[in-house]
Symmetry: C2
DNA sequence: TCACGATTATTGTATATGCAACTATCGGCT
DNA sequence: AGCCGATAGTTGCATATACAATAATCGTGA
């Protein structure tokens, strides 16, 4: 392997933001998933339930805007949540729409998940440090600014 | 929904580290994937190729340690890379092992990917800011300390 | 009214991710 | 030699993720 190539590989290896962010994401996601496992819940699912709870009646496109998720992804992710009885699809005047809302069961699940979430949150905070958490807030805020809901 | 529940949902919504980190991860991953798309390459794949390049001869467990990836995940992720001819599995004395290495073609691919990577890296840096990048470095370093290769 | 572009969501396809269970092999100890 | 715990990867299963293409519906302008 020639020197230039080695140098490029070295640069990516040492500096690539995506590599580190993705690694951190895996580790942190596992912290939460481990804590939530006894409830049969994953943090990705808790995300969606919480957003839905806040919206009351949630339209897919709206949830995707908030979570920066592809609509096709949400479309599939909702199915297990619905199957578990945590969400229910609500009929709408506009026949294209598939708005959904949290069920009472889903609400109870969130309540039950709080202690596990708190423990994972504690571990994640320890990992990132207060500065890290603050930075994450900033970045998330910037993303919201970048994509204003018209 | 009673007040306590609303309050809990609010807390998660406003403070959950996993929610934000996962969101950021999606956005940033998409930056790199968009830039790399013309090459038929995803940043997750570039990760693996680069680690492999650095290792020379890469053992799966070793790559997983570095990337904090489940071995079963890597086992599957390697297959498309192999199919594209970017990696090749190398026979080993230990019949359990499945070490692999970068092919010449894989090396050329990395070279071709550099400009796209640089552009995505620029965008990601802009998004996170220099502090954000520094924090990410710190967190990644901490993860390496947490799991020393004994 | 009805034709057509815009909107909303789903489906086909491919990859990423991890847990649990399994297979194959290795190495040491008897 | 032969058993047995340890090690290295793979496979079954479920979920997450996104792009491209499609389906269904809506609303508007002719």
């Amino acid at each position: 392997m020639d020197k230039a190539t080695t140098s490029n590989i070295d640069t990516i290896s040492r500096t690539c933001i995506a590599v580190r962010l993705r690694l951190l994401n895996r580790v942190v996601t596992n912290l939460y998933d481990d804590a939530l496992r006894p409830l049969g819940l994953k943090v990705s699912q808790l995300n969606i339930l919480v957003v839905t709870a806040r919206l009351g009646l949630a339209r897919p496109a709206q949830v995707c805007e908030i979570l920066q998720l592809d609509v096709s992804t949400l479309s599939r992710n909702v199915k297990p949540l619905q199957a578990h009885g945590w969400l229910e699809v609500v009929p709408d005047e506009d026949a294209r729409a598939q708005p959904f809302r949290l069920t009472a069961q889903g609400e109870r699940l969130i309540e039950k998940a709080i202690p596990a979430w708190e423990e994972a949150q504690r571990q994640a905070t320890e990992l990132l440090g207060n500065e890290g958490v603050a930075l994450l807030d900033q970045a998330a805020k910037k993303l919201r600014q970048t994509r204003p809901e018209a």
